[in-house]
Protein backbone atom coordinates (compact mmCIF):
# COMPACT_ATOMS: atom_id res chain seq x y z
CA UNK A 1 0.00 0.00 0.00
CA UNK A 2 1.89 3.02 -1.26
CA UNK A 3 -0.94 5.17 0.03
CA UNK A 4 0.31 4.63 3.54
CA UNK A 5 3.78 5.99 2.85
CA UNK A 6 4.40 9.62 3.64
CA UNK A 7 5.27 10.39 0.05
CA UNK A 8 2.25 8.61 -1.28
CA UNK A 9 -0.17 10.34 1.04
CA UNK A 10 1.30 13.73 0.17
CA UNK A 11 0.90 13.08 -3.52
CA UNK A 12 -2.62 11.84 -3.14
CA UNK A 13 -3.74 14.44 -0.66
CA UNK A 14 -5.04 16.73 -3.38
CA UNK A 15 -7.36 14.08 -4.74
CA UNK A 16 -8.92 13.46 -1.32
CA UNK A 17 -12.45 14.67 -0.77
CA UNK A 18 -12.60 17.70 1.48
CA UNK A 19 -13.54 16.92 5.06
CA UNK A 20 -16.91 18.35 5.92
CA UNK A 21 -17.41 20.06 9.25
CA UNK A 22 -21.05 20.93 9.73
CA UNK A 23 -22.13 22.59 6.53
CA UNK A 24 -18.82 24.30 5.85
CA UNK A 25 -16.23 22.56 3.74
CA UNK A 26 -12.72 22.74 5.17
CA UNK A 27 -10.23 21.18 2.85
CA UNK A 28 -7.17 23.12 4.06
CA UNK A 29 -5.60 22.72 0.68
CA UNK A 30 -2.54 24.73 -0.25
CA UNK A 31 -2.15 25.62 -3.88
CA UNK A 32 1.44 25.92 -5.05
CA UNK A 33 1.82 28.85 -7.44
CA UNK A 34 4.34 30.96 -9.33
CA UNK A 35 4.13 34.74 -9.04
CA UNK A 36 2.27 35.12 -12.34
CA UNK A 37 -0.47 32.77 -11.05
CA UNK A 38 -0.69 34.75 -7.82
CA UNK A 39 -1.00 38.03 -9.71
CA UNK A 40 -3.87 36.58 -11.71
CA UNK A 41 -5.63 35.73 -8.43
CA UNK A 42 -5.09 38.96 -6.51
CA UNK A 43 -5.25 41.51 -9.31
CA UNK A 44 -8.70 40.74 -10.66
CA UNK A 45 -10.84 43.47 -12.11
CA UNK A 46 -13.89 42.58 -10.06
CA UNK A 47 -14.35 45.48 -7.60
CA UNK A 48 -13.27 43.23 -4.72
CA UNK A 49 -10.78 44.34 -2.11
CA UNK A 50 -8.05 41.69 -1.99
CA UNK A 51 -6.26 41.47 1.35
CA UNK A 52 -3.11 39.49 0.64
CA UNK A 53 -0.96 38.47 3.59
CA UNK A 54 2.57 37.08 3.09
CA UNK A 55 3.54 34.72 5.90
CA UNK A 56 5.27 31.46 6.74
CA UNK A 57 4.71 28.82 9.42
CA UNK A 58 8.22 29.52 10.78
CA UNK A 59 7.66 33.28 11.01
CA UNK A 60 6.78 34.16 14.58
CA UNK A 61 5.23 37.62 14.08
CA UNK A 62 3.27 36.20 11.13
CA UNK A 63 1.86 33.40 13.23
CA UNK A 64 1.04 35.89 15.98
CA UNK A 65 -1.07 38.11 13.74
CA UNK A 66 -2.93 35.30 11.93
CA UNK A 67 -5.66 34.72 14.57
CA UNK A 68 -6.75 38.35 14.20
CA UNK A 69 -6.63 38.05 10.42
CA UNK A 70 -8.92 35.04 10.71
CA UNK A 71 -11.32 36.97 12.96
CA UNK A 72 -11.44 39.74 10.39
CA UNK A 73 -11.89 37.26 7.53
CA UNK A 74 -14.77 35.61 9.35
CA UNK A 75 -16.43 38.98 9.88
CA UNK A 76 -16.08 40.10 6.26
CA UNK A 77 -16.08 36.88 4.24
CA UNK A 78 -19.75 37.15 3.29
CA UNK A 79 -19.19 40.57 1.80
CA UNK A 80 -19.03 40.00 -1.98
CA UNK A 81 -16.55 42.86 -2.28
CA UNK A 82 -14.01 41.31 0.11
CA UNK A 83 -11.49 38.54 -0.35
CA UNK A 84 -8.64 37.49 1.93
CA UNK A 85 -5.72 35.45 0.62
CA UNK A 86 -2.79 34.03 2.57
CA UNK A 87 0.46 33.53 0.68
CA UNK A 88 2.78 31.09 2.41
CA UNK A 89 6.50 31.42 1.82
CA UNK A 90 7.29 28.03 3.28
CA UNK A 91 9.24 25.66 1.06
CA UNK A 92 7.07 23.95 -1.55
CA UNK A 93 7.80 20.44 -0.37
CA UNK A 94 6.16 21.27 2.96
CA UNK A 95 2.87 22.49 1.45
CA UNK A 96 1.00 19.28 2.14
CA UNK A 97 2.76 18.52 5.41
CA UNK A 98 3.77 21.48 7.57
CA UNK A 99 1.55 24.15 6.02
CA UNK A 100 -1.57 22.01 5.69
CA UNK A 101 -1.15 20.68 9.22
CA UNK A 102 -0.79 24.23 10.50
CA UNK A 103 -4.04 25.29 8.81
CA UNK A 104 -5.88 22.20 9.93
CA UNK A 105 -4.79 22.53 13.54
CA UNK A 106 -5.98 26.13 13.69
CA UNK A 107 -9.08 25.46 11.58
CA UNK A 108 -8.10 28.25 9.21
CA UNK A 109 -10.78 28.39 6.56
CA UNK A 110 -9.20 30.78 4.10
CA UNK A 111 -7.66 30.60 0.61
CA UNK A 112 -4.00 29.69 1.00
CA UNK A 113 -1.41 29.73 -1.75
CA UNK A 114 2.23 28.76 -1.44
CA UNK A 115 4.41 31.01 -3.58
CA UNK A 116 7.12 28.78 -4.99
CA UNK A 117 9.21 31.27 -6.91
CA UNK A 118 12.40 31.50 -4.84
CA UNK A 119 14.79 32.27 -7.61
CA UNK A 120 12.84 35.29 -8.76
CA UNK A 121 12.42 36.97 -5.36
CA UNK A 122 14.39 39.94 -6.61
CA UNK A 123 11.72 40.41 -9.29
CA UNK A 124 8.44 39.77 -7.51
CA UNK A 125 9.26 41.47 -4.20
CA UNK A 126 9.75 44.88 -5.88
CA UNK A 127 6.78 44.14 -8.15
CA UNK A 128 4.58 44.03 -5.06
CA UNK A 129 6.15 47.13 -3.51
CA UNK A 130 9.34 48.90 -4.47
CA UNK A 131 10.14 49.61 -0.82
CA UNK A 132 9.56 46.07 0.45
CA UNK A 133 12.82 44.73 1.87
CA UNK A 134 11.47 41.17 1.90
CA UNK A 135 10.81 40.98 5.63
CA UNK A 136 7.58 39.22 6.59
CA UNK A 137 4.82 39.54 7.63
CA UNK A 138 3.78 41.90 4.87
CA UNK A 139 0.26 42.64 3.67
CA UNK A 140 -0.79 44.16 0.39
CA UNK A 141 -4.26 45.36 -0.56
CA UNK A 142 -5.44 45.38 -4.17
CA UNK A 143 -8.61 46.53 -5.83
CA UNK A 144 -9.21 46.20 -9.57
CA UNK A 145 -5.57 45.35 -10.10
CA UNK A 146 -4.35 48.48 -8.33
CA UNK A 147 -2.39 48.36 -5.10
CA UNK A 148 -4.15 50.56 -2.56
CA UNK A 149 -2.05 49.83 0.55
CA UNK A 150 1.11 47.95 1.49
CA UNK A 151 2.32 47.27 5.02
CA UNK A 152 5.64 45.61 5.80
CA UNK A 153 5.00 44.78 9.43
CA UNK A 154 2.67 43.07 11.82
CA UNK A 155 -0.81 44.65 11.67
CA UNK A 156 -3.12 45.10 14.63
CA UNK A 157 -6.74 44.06 14.14
CA UNK A 158 -8.01 47.64 14.47
CA UNK A 159 -5.60 48.86 11.80
CA UNK A 160 -6.56 46.01 9.48
CA UNK A 161 -10.26 46.79 9.93
CA UNK A 162 -9.62 50.47 9.40
CA UNK A 163 -7.92 49.82 6.05
CA UNK A 164 -10.62 47.38 4.94
CA UNK A 165 -13.41 49.79 5.89
CA UNK A 166 -11.67 52.55 3.99
CA UNK A 167 -11.87 50.59 0.75
CA UNK A 168 -15.04 48.54 1.07
Amino acid sequence: MTLLTLNGSAQNAEKKEPATVGTIKHDYSVKIVRFADLEAVMKKNDDKLYVVNFWATWCRPCVMELPEFMEVNNAYRNNPRFKMILVSLDVAKEAETTVRAFLEKRKMDVDVYLLDDNKRMNEWIPAIDKNWSGAIPATVFYRNGEKVEFIENQIQKSELEQIINKYL
Binding site: F54, A56, W58, C59, R60, P61, L89, V91, N118, K119, R120, M121, N122, I125, P126, W132, S133, G134, A135, I136, P137, E152, N153
Partner: protein, 212 residues
Amino acid sequence: MKKTVLIVYSIIFLTGLAQVKAQNMENNSELKGYKVGDVAADFKLKNVDQKTVSLSDYAAAKGFIVVFTCNHCPYAKAYESRIIALDKKYASKGYPVIAINPNDPIVVPADNFEAMQVRAKEKGFTFPYLFDDGQKVYPQYGATKTPHVFLLNKENGKNIVRYIGAIDDNYADANDVSNKYVEAAVDALLANQPIAQASTVAIGCSIKAQKN
Protein backbone atom coordinates in the same frame (compact mmCIF):
# COMPACT_ATOMS: atom_id res chain seq x y z
CA MET B 1 -7.81 94.17 9.74
CA LYS B 2 -9.29 90.98 11.12
CA LYS B 3 -8.63 89.33 7.78
CA THR B 4 -4.96 90.34 7.78
CA VAL B 5 -4.50 88.96 11.27
CA LEU B 6 -6.09 85.70 10.20
CA ILE B 7 -3.81 85.48 7.17
CA VAL B 8 -0.74 86.19 9.32
CA TYR B 9 -1.82 83.53 11.82
CA SER B 10 -2.43 81.08 8.98
CA ILE B 11 1.02 81.68 7.57
CA ILE B 12 2.64 81.18 10.97
CA PHE B 13 0.61 78.02 11.48
CA LEU B 14 1.37 76.60 8.04
CA THR B 15 5.10 77.39 8.34
CA GLY B 16 5.09 75.55 11.65
CA LEU B 17 3.39 72.56 10.05
CA ALA B 18 5.88 72.53 7.18
CA GLN B 19 8.75 72.51 9.67
CA VAL B 20 7.27 69.65 11.64
CA LYS B 21 6.75 67.73 8.40
CA ALA B 22 10.33 68.37 7.25
CA GLN B 23 11.64 67.12 10.60
CA ASN B 24 9.53 63.98 10.37
CA MET B 25 10.83 63.28 6.92
CA GLU B 26 14.39 63.64 8.15
CA ASN B 27 13.72 61.24 11.01
CA ASN B 28 12.20 58.79 8.58
CA SER B 29 15.20 58.85 6.30
CA GLU B 30 17.43 58.21 9.31
CA LEU B 31 15.30 55.24 10.26
CA LYS B 32 15.55 53.80 6.79
CA GLY B 33 19.30 53.36 7.16
CA TYR B 34 21.98 53.29 4.54
CA LYS B 35 21.73 53.45 0.80
CA VAL B 36 24.45 52.33 -1.58
CA GLY B 37 27.11 55.04 -1.56
CA ASP B 38 26.59 56.08 2.08
CA VAL B 39 29.38 56.05 4.67
CA ALA B 40 28.84 53.23 7.17
CA ALA B 41 29.54 53.92 10.83
CA ASP B 42 31.92 51.77 12.80
CA PHE B 43 30.65 49.92 15.88
CA LYS B 44 31.94 48.25 19.00
CA LEU B 45 30.16 44.97 19.62
CA LYS B 46 30.83 41.90 21.71
CA ASN B 47 31.96 38.81 19.83
CA VAL B 48 31.11 35.23 20.84
CA ASP B 49 34.67 34.98 22.27
CA GLN B 50 33.78 37.85 24.68
CA LYS B 51 36.17 40.25 22.94
CA THR B 52 34.98 43.52 21.48
CA VAL B 53 35.19 43.92 17.70
CA SER B 54 35.23 47.11 15.62
CA LEU B 55 35.79 47.61 11.91
CA SER B 56 38.79 49.79 12.80
CA ASP B 57 40.50 46.69 14.26
CA TYR B 58 41.04 45.47 10.69
CA ALA B 59 43.75 47.83 9.47
CA ALA B 60 44.66 45.64 6.49
CA ALA B 61 41.08 45.00 5.29
CA LYS B 62 39.94 46.49 1.99
CA GLY B 63 36.38 46.27 3.14
CA PHE B 64 33.85 44.05 4.92
CA ILE B 65 31.01 41.69 4.19
CA VAL B 66 28.71 42.69 7.06
CA VAL B 67 25.93 40.10 7.46
CA PHE B 68 23.01 40.61 9.83
CA THR B 69 22.06 37.07 10.70
CA CYS B 70 20.84 35.01 13.65
CA ASN B 71 20.44 31.52 15.06
CA HIS B 72 16.72 30.82 14.77
CA CYS B 73 15.64 32.04 11.33
CA PRO B 74 15.35 29.27 8.72
CA TYR B 75 16.64 31.59 5.99
CA ALA B 76 19.65 32.51 8.11
CA LYS B 77 20.27 28.84 8.87
CA ALA B 78 20.01 27.94 5.20
CA TYR B 79 22.78 30.44 4.48
CA GLU B 80 25.17 29.60 7.36
CA SER B 81 27.44 27.39 5.27
CA ARG B 82 27.42 29.89 2.42
CA ILE B 83 28.40 32.70 4.82
CA ILE B 84 31.35 30.59 6.02
CA ALA B 85 32.29 29.97 2.37
CA LEU B 86 32.20 33.71 1.67
CA ASP B 87 34.59 34.37 4.56
CA LYS B 88 36.92 31.57 3.48
CA LYS B 89 36.99 32.90 -0.07
CA TYR B 90 37.25 36.63 0.58
CA ALA B 91 38.87 37.23 4.01
CA SER B 92 42.30 36.49 2.54
CA LYS B 93 41.52 38.86 -0.34
CA GLY B 94 40.78 41.69 2.09
CA TYR B 95 37.01 41.35 2.57
CA PRO B 96 36.29 39.40 5.77
CA VAL B 97 32.77 38.52 6.94
CA ILE B 98 31.52 40.30 10.06
CA ALA B 99 28.28 38.68 11.26
CA ILE B 100 25.94 40.56 13.58
CA ASN B 101 22.91 39.15 15.38
CA PRO B 102 20.41 42.02 15.63
CA ASN B 103 17.57 40.27 17.44
CA ASP B 104 16.38 41.06 20.95
CA PRO B 105 16.90 37.84 22.94
CA ILE B 106 13.96 38.71 25.17
CA VAL B 107 11.75 38.33 22.09
CA VAL B 108 13.70 35.38 20.65
CA PRO B 109 15.53 33.44 23.40
CA ALA B 110 17.08 31.20 20.72
CA ASP B 111 19.10 34.22 19.64
CA ASN B 112 20.65 35.02 23.02
CA PHE B 113 24.38 35.45 23.47
CA GLU B 114 24.98 31.97 24.92
CA ALA B 115 23.06 30.38 22.04
CA MET B 116 25.16 32.43 19.61
CA GLN B 117 28.32 31.04 21.22
CA VAL B 118 26.98 27.50 20.87
CA ARG B 119 25.96 28.01 17.24
CA ALA B 120 29.27 29.62 16.25
CA LYS B 121 31.14 26.67 17.76
CA GLU B 122 28.85 24.01 16.26
CA LYS B 123 29.11 25.44 12.76
CA GLY B 124 32.76 26.43 13.09
CA PHE B 125 32.29 30.10 12.23
CA THR B 126 35.57 31.48 10.88
CA PHE B 127 34.42 35.08 11.41
CA PRO B 128 33.27 37.23 14.32
CA TYR B 129 29.64 36.71 15.31
CA LEU B 130 28.70 39.87 17.15
CA PHE B 131 25.77 40.67 19.40
CA ASP B 132 23.98 43.97 18.68
CA ASP B 133 23.38 44.49 22.39
CA GLY B 134 20.83 47.28 22.82
CA GLN B 135 19.92 47.08 19.11
CA LYS B 136 21.70 50.28 18.10
CA VAL B 137 23.59 49.09 15.03
CA TYR B 138 20.93 47.41 12.88
CA PRO B 139 18.62 50.48 12.69
CA GLN B 140 21.61 52.65 11.79
CA TYR B 141 22.44 50.34 8.89
CA GLY B 142 18.81 49.87 7.98
CA ALA B 143 18.82 46.10 8.27
CA THR B 144 15.26 44.79 8.37
CA LYS B 145 15.68 41.02 8.25
CA THR B 146 18.04 38.12 8.54
CA PRO B 147 20.10 37.46 6.55
CA HIS B 148 20.75 40.97 5.25
CA VAL B 149 24.15 41.82 3.73
CA PHE B 150 25.90 45.21 3.65
CA LEU B 151 29.11 45.09 1.62
CA LEU B 152 31.48 47.87 2.68
CA ASN B 153 34.48 49.12 0.75
CA LYS B 154 37.26 51.16 2.39
CA GLU B 155 37.71 54.34 0.38
CA ASN B 156 39.89 57.19 1.70
CA GLY B 157 39.66 55.79 5.21
CA LYS B 158 35.86 55.54 5.13
CA ASN B 159 33.68 52.44 4.86
CA ILE B 160 31.39 53.07 1.90
CA VAL B 161 28.31 50.88 1.39
CA ARG B 162 28.65 49.29 -2.04
CA TYR B 163 26.02 46.53 -2.01
CA ILE B 164 22.89 45.86 0.07
CA GLY B 165 20.77 42.75 -0.10
CA ALA B 166 20.73 39.00 -0.44
CA ILE B 167 23.63 36.56 -0.62
CA ASP B 168 22.36 34.83 -3.77
CA ASP B 169 19.11 34.06 -5.56
CA ASN B 170 18.19 30.71 -4.04
CA TYR B 171 18.03 30.30 -0.27
CA ALA B 172 16.44 26.86 -0.50
CA ASP B 173 19.04 25.15 -2.67
CA ALA B 174 22.69 26.18 -2.75
CA ASN B 175 23.21 23.88 -5.73
CA ASP B 176 20.62 25.69 -7.82
CA VAL B 177 21.89 29.25 -7.56
CA SER B 178 22.07 31.33 -10.74
CA ASN B 179 23.20 34.66 -9.28
CA LYS B 180 25.76 34.90 -6.49
CA TYR B 181 25.04 38.56 -5.75
CA VAL B 182 27.59 39.11 -2.95
CA GLU B 183 30.39 37.23 -4.73
CA ALA B 184 29.77 39.20 -7.91
CA ALA B 185 29.87 42.46 -5.95
CA VAL B 186 33.12 41.62 -4.10
CA ASP B 187 34.70 40.36 -7.34
CA ALA B 188 33.79 43.66 -8.99
CA LEU B 189 35.41 45.62 -6.13
CA LEU B 190 38.53 43.45 -6.36
CA ALA B 191 38.70 44.05 -10.11
CA ASN B 192 38.03 47.77 -9.68
CA GLN B 193 34.90 47.41 -11.75
CA PRO B 194 31.46 48.90 -11.10
CA ILE B 195 29.03 46.54 -9.30
CA ALA B 196 26.40 45.46 -11.82
CA GLN B 197 23.69 44.78 -9.24
CA ALA B 198 24.22 46.98 -6.18
CA SER B 199 21.05 46.04 -4.35
CA THR B 200 18.70 43.07 -4.25
CA VAL B 201 15.78 41.94 -2.11
CA ALA B 202 14.79 38.54 -0.80
CA ILE B 203 12.39 37.16 1.78
CA GLY B 204 13.87 36.99 5.26
CA CYS B 205 12.88 36.88 8.92
CA SER B 206 12.05 40.31 10.24
CA ILE B 207 14.44 41.56 12.93
CA LYS B 208 12.85 41.07 16.32
CA ALA B 209 12.52 44.02 18.67
CA GLN B 210 10.22 44.71 21.60
CA LYS B 211 7.37 47.07 20.83
CA ASN B 212 7.74 50.44 22.56
